[in-house]
Amino acid sequence: MEYFIQLFMSGMVKGSIYALIALGYTMVYGIIQLINFAHGEIYMIGAMVALIFGATLSAAGMSTGGVLIVALIAAMVYAAAYGVTIERMAYKPLRNSPRLSALISAIGMSIFLQNYVLLSQTSNYIPYPNWVPQFAFLNDYRNILNSNQLFILMTTAVVMVFLTFIIKFTKMGKAMRATAQDKQMAQLVGINVNQVISMTFLLGSVTAALGGVLICSYMGQINYYIGFIAGIKAFVAAVLGGIGSVPGAVLGSFVLGWGESFGAGYISSDYEDAFAFIILIIILLVRPSGILGKKELKKV
């Protein structure tokens, strides 16, 4: 039973990390129907920036709590800046071209950013310091849930609530939903579509950066390549839940996290990564547009 709970918790933590990244995918997809391949790289750059600023500050003698806050803010600011710049330079000129062009551009951007970090930093794994506060009350349950995991779960929950609030109840959220439904129509009723798209990239990048910092503190290392794998997994999660749907992305992430965790725990750990894809194929066979995806009506 304890083994089961362990797997359950680790799956849930995995799922929350996937959810933080998948949200960016799904929001961007919902609005401009683009698989933003460079999203994983944003996540990596966010974590990298946090490491650089955090390590510099902690060497200068700042307390751990302060370092965590500053590093998180730096990561979010920079990820947002990168996300918006990429959108402006690589995707905006392609808004009216075939979807495949934008996809290739995103793949190109992903390769570019990976190598940009590789060349200006290093190709090796860099140890990542753990700035997350350690909660004393968890000491007895350490092999079920440690402080990092608890922190990840809490952050994800807060981000979900915050994002739901933005999308459901603010003016910008309303504009985002309108743009997702029909870009042209939204423009006609006076919504600044460019601004809405930039905002979507900004929100997605910020959540990805949060995920990046948390997972790197948890794993204890970072590399220029981490974004790619995480990005693919998160994308699978987004598709699983029904791409374009925000609750779908969260649900898909948890299904994926648990599926991987239980699959690796009970069946075979060699195929841990394969379970994600197998779950994806099975679910898409039953529901071709994801768990919560709306059924697309074919219209002439």
């Binding site: 060497a59 996809l103 290739i104 190109g108 951007m109 390769i111 894809f277 194929i281 697309e296």
Partner: protein
């Protein structure tokens, strides 16, 4: 042309330079070492100056290119058209084609083995590009797991050799013969594999299709990697025999020339086959499917069958290319069939021009030869490659050699 407001332009460039200095500051200027007891930070202020000056000037180029693109959109570009119409004339076409083929056949005898090996890679990627072109260019189905079929081909040959070599020896046959048996087997197997993958995928559209094919590609690779009893796991299979020539052993010096010629012959046959396929009934069905699935269906074309054919036929070429790869390198492992491989092949098709056979030839040559001859910049080549992909899509999205659409022109008298 409107007048250029230089003050405004200068302001824009300065702003973008400042923005990029801010963006690149933590990554390019700062560097931390967390190895020691306390982390140390290094500052590389030189990079800051480079980034500033670089983006200042490049932003002028960037805006100029955008302005030119808008300007060019208004008038039809004719450069490619002129080259095409000159090459299309039978007087020019026949001799130049003959000269090209003679040159390509003579290539391994003129140049060194090193060059020949590079050219074999180019030819293998041309075959892969031609195959993927059927799926993406003709069928309009985004396929991100093409490397799986490539792997099926390569592993068919490798495993056949691995398990049947003793039996072959006991029969008194040479292992060089295996290549010729492996080819039809690999082509058939990848065809079946392609059709099998297609079955669950038929119902999916667009991006769902892309992610499921990606998933299939990755699962295939993971199975190859983890099923150690059969596939030898990550270490792969080595000492795969090179092909023999009608029962004669081809000596190692000549072997790469021989494989080159086989690959070249296959490329030529493929081009002829695909050219005919393009204009056949099924080729027209693909074109209709790509343009509009609903209209295509209502005209009585079976979508499921067209998709199945395009997947299965596309996979066939990858299977063949896989056997060639195994014969060329005599060693294969799962690391050669990652998602990156699929992306590379996709880029060949898209850069060359989707649905265009000359495009695939140009795309594969550029993608393989440029990195090879710019080894001096080998550190930067992936960086440049990524950038080129983005810039190509922005400024020349139809590819280097765009597809010529079938046009039906009729004269007045016909009516």
């Amino acid at each position: 042309m409107q007048k250029i407001n230089w003050l405004e332009e200068l302001k824009k460039s300065t702003l973008s330079a400042l923005w990029f200095i801010f963006l690149t500051f933590p990554i390019m200027v700062m560097k931390v070492s967390t190895m020691g007891e306390t982390p140390e930070t290094f500052y590389r202020w030189g990079n800051l100056v480079y980034v500033g000056i670089g983006t200042f000037f490049l932003s002028f180029v960037w805006r100029y290119m955008h302005a030119r693109k808008e300007f060019a959109a208004k008038k039809k570009s004719t450069e490619v058209g002129i080259i095409r119409s000159t090459l299309g004339k039978p007087k020019v076409k026949k001799p130049s084609l003959t000269a090209l083929i003679v040159f390509l056949v003579a290539f391994p005898f003129i140049f060194s083995m090193y060059q020949t090996n590079i050219m074999i890679s180019v030819l293998i990627y041309i075959i892969l590009g031609l195959g993927l072109n059927i799926v993406i260019g003709y069928g309009g189905l985004l396929h991100l797991g093409y490397a799986a079929f490539y792997a099926v081909g390569a592993y068919t040959y490798a495993l056949f050799f691995h398990f049947a070599q003793d039996w072959f020896y006991s029969l008194g046959l040479q292992t060089g013969l295996m290549f010729w048996i492996a080819i039809p087997a690999a082509v058939l197997l990848s065809l079946v594999f392609g059709a099998l993958i297609c079955l669950p995928v038929i119902r999916l559209r667009g991006d769902y299709l892309a992610i499921v094919t990606l998933a299939f590609g990755e699962i295939t690779r993971m199975v190859l990697q983890n099923w150690g009893d059969v596939t030898q796991g990550p270490s792969g299979i080595s000492q795969i025999p090179r092909p023999w020539f009608f029962g004669m052993r081809v000596d190692p010096i000549f072997a790469s020339k021989y494989i080159y010629l086989i690959a070249l012959a296959m490329v030529i046959i493929s081009i002829i086959l695909i050219k005919n396929l393009e204009n056949s009934k099924i080729g027209r069905a693909w074109e209709a499917m790509r343009e509009d699935e609903i209209a295509c269906q209502s005209m009585g074309v079976s979508l499921a069958r067209s998709k199945l054919y395009s997947f299965a036929l596309g996979a066939m070429w990858a299977g063949f290319a896989g056997v060639l790869l195994a014969a060329k390198t005599t060693f294969i492992n799962p690391a050669s069939f990652t998602l990156w491989e699929s992306v590379m092949i996709l880029c060949i098709v898209v850069l060359g021009g989707m649905g265009s056979i000359p495009g695939v030839l140009v795309g594969a040559s550029l993608m393989m030869l440029l990195p090879e001859y710019f080894r001096a910049f080998s550190e930067y080549r992936m960086l440049i490659f990524g950038l080129v992909l983005v810039l190509m899509m922005i400024f020349k999205p139809e590819g280097i050699v765009p597809r010529v659409r079938n046009k039906y022109t009729f004269e007045e008298e016909d009516l």
